[in-house]
Symmetry: D2
Subunit: 279 residues, 4 copies
């Protein structure tokens, strides 16, 4: 069971999101008898059980709150974290580009705070499998707790191991790499991926992108693409419609490639990279 039931009302055991004034929000699992203490008063879990999703309620001191099922982006935003998390704008594109969906076998390194791990585990469903590597036990402990809390732990194997020493798996459909020096592990990644498999990576600087591109070409990856995604929010006032004043300018460069086999990949413009997705 994952976090979002299809019930119309909140029930014991459900993960809930409550939102109060000034965006203050809390995500927790409903447990009969428990209470949540907030700066805007106390909320008894029992008062929420049986209440309709989308409804308004007040804490003990009359502060208004709304009761919602958390969406994936709510979840991602709220994850207890040890390292930087991936942004939904980037996660969404990785998932679609690499075809992460029910039944897929995906490898991730490193786990970090597990935001991508959560997104991958949710997307592959019960028939899929995610293996996630990290060298840092503390990070994985946090990720493990996050997955447990969301009911996704059963879909993920967390492994504490340096991928420089090679991975235990081979034939994975998809490999997502998010480590400090991604270019150092491309042959290990190559060995774990099935022929034709999808590779995705997020890289913070252009210097690292260029080293990664060389490593990918050396290891016979093809159809290499690099892109970045800019997300701009707007004020939702219909009479004064305009972008917000400030935005995130950069999260990382997204790099995609596919594991090719054979005598060496033909150095042709048409084979080196796919046409722009948007053309």
């Amino acid at each position: 069971m994952t976090w979002q039931s299809s019930n119309l009302t909140a029930e014991a055991g459900d993960l809930v999101l409550i939102v109060g004034l000034r965006h203050k929000h809390f995500i927790f699992r409903l447990v009969p008898g428990q209470v949540l203490h907030t700066h805007r008063g106390v909320v008894a879990h029992d008062d929420l059980i049986g209440k309709s999703w989308g409804s308004q309620f007040t804490s003990h001191n009359g502060s208004p709150f709304y009761l919602l099922q958390p969406g994936m982006s709510d979840i991602l935003r709220s994850l207890p974290r040890s390292t930087q998390i991936l942004y939904p704008k980037d996660i969404g594109f990785f998932l679609v580009y690499m075809g992460v969906g029910p039944g897929k076998r995906v490898i991730e390194a490193g786990t970090g705070s597990g935001s991508m791990t959560v997104a991958l585990a949710y997307a592959v469903g019960e028939s899929g499998k995610v293996v996630s590597y990290d060298i840092n036990p503390q990070f994985q402990a946090i990720a493990a707790k996050n997955l447990e809390r969301l009911g996704l732990a059963g879909r993920v194997d967390l492994k504490i191991k340096d991928i420089g020493e090679g991975l235990d798996e081979s034939g994975a459909d998809i490999f997502f790499l998010d480590v400090q020096h991604p270019y150092s592990y491309i042959s290990q990644v190559r060995a774990a991926l099935k022929p034709g498999g999808f590779f995705g990576c997020i890289v913070p600087t252009s210097n690292k992108v260029t080293i990664l591109l060389e490593a990918l070409k050396r290891e016979n990856f093809g159809f290499i693409e690099v892109c970045e995604i800019m997300l701009r929010f707007f004020k939702s006032d219909p009479e004064h419609f305009r972008p917000t004043d400030r935005m995130v300018a950069h999260t990382g460069y997204l790099v995609f490639a596919r594991a090719m086999i054979g005598e060496g990949f033909i150095q042709d413009e048409g084979l080196e990279s796919m046409p722009d997705m948007d053309e």
Copy 2:
């Protein structure tokens, strides 16, 4: 069975992507005995069956090709279409933001060419369900063929009906709206969504966004967000790393909201909209 098996080699019945020089690509299902005629020669399906994914082969006249499993974005790009398709950059964000995943019950209107229908059906898995409405039988015929070809038809109910007359469903987890005049159907959408359910819509002009925002507020939707996503590709030459010369400047404004219930949604900055996802 969807289009991507986890096999290491292409087998009869698999959907394959072959890519030749200058980005020329073809997506088709392998049928023993059949041949594909291309401008770069004839390809016999039998020559591909048993061949490793990611490997190189040549057509009858020696033109080089690569054999791949199509990814979701390959599929989306290649869909036979009657109307404009949604772009992967927008689809990915919709899926993550609205939490589309295995087991979800999603309604879509209109079906159009079915690119979002394909993405939704893939993401909800075998345990989920997509209902997709359109008033145009021709569009749905194309969408039906696309879904059939991808092995996703079983997850989708296609309905030819004007949603202005109301929908057959209620209690949907997620509603995706992509029609000419979205603001005209918000009460019908509201009735089909479960309380707290997720609403998503793509709108081409700012004029339409502002009318939609008013309709959403009138129908007691809350947590309204509007954003746009800009995707920029880079040349993947490690020695001359830079963005491509041109890019898509606009596909549409993405509008999100949640169906609220009760006396009327509190008009507070903190409840009207969530903090920027990226903050």
Copy 3:
């Protein structure tokens, strides 16, 4: 005399920029005998007189500073202000697009804090003329002081008058409009501009842009263009080259048009708007 002499050293009467640790900067005119008090110590003007531009010095308590001539963008950033200022990214494009240069006769409304007034006055040189209207005497007092301090007052006529009552001038080369309701003054703007003259305007919301576009078409303006400029800075570390984390997402929509005469402007795609400047 404007603020930037071509001397190699700072002299009495020069406008100087000094920059200390953590970006702390001050712009002031050198006056023999005066001192500047900063949080990082006292700086005697006499110590700077005769010093080479670009050189380092210390305040009385040993805090390091650099001595520079202020550039236009330094000046714009530092203007004492009553209202929001225009950003250099937008000012630069307005100046080039409308051909603001030596000898031009430019009208501006409203003056605001005078940031555009300063940029216009600097660009038109001693042979040009800027007339700037505002209804708020307090704003103009600040603008007047800014212009005086920069040695540009002689090129600008500041007028306190509601432009709704018409302007005193006609035959201006260029009109820059930056007021709350720009669409309300287009006929008055039209009357002040010479035939074929350049119109430029900055508008915060898409709602206002659409009303302005209608007003411009009604008043026989042609070659209408709307655009926005996004400026993204990068970290200047050569080993970790990447964009800064955050950026300004929106300052305003820039609207350009030219005053046409005759029977009514031909409603042709090719005459209504120029090809994209970047094509």
Copy 4:
């Protein structure tokens, strides 16, 4: 005399812009007795002399045209060119950032097609001076013709010389560098600039930016900034207001710095770079 008189009507000797259907435009100088042959008919210069700017006329076969004074961006777009031209979006920002205005002494290398040369010469006015270097006599011949045609030749010294051998000038206020390998000439640039002078450069790839940044730091430049400018146009239809479908994604990275003197520039965050211009 530059190209834009302040007359209300076109006169012999004026530079004119005529625009016909489908954006077809021509820029030329009015000479009594001459005719212009276009695909949409013949235009006699004499028919335009005395005609009001902004007015409509027809060619001999009845095709409609509009008569305008060319703006700076019209000029830049129309320059006969040997190499890639700079875009108005970048030129405008360079001019404002570096304070290019009346009276300034500016050095440019290389001249290229002379689009920046034209913009610089226009901005510095009759009291200013531009020196422009190139090693290619053919390029400079084109630039010379462009400047001559615009009445700006008197403000520019064109020099055919390899700047690697050093420049003839010193003490320039501003240096604009646009050559293949900008990082190879930083010491020569440094020697030509006055202390504290402004350096600006446009660079196509991130690889070259990082080499340039190292060269600038080595040669004691400070206040280094790198940015890029994205310009997005909108459809000017007030009832369907939205961005155009496609846009220019990249022209180049803009690099700015100032020539510092003394023992070595303090390696402090606050001195290395200025705060974002937009903060």
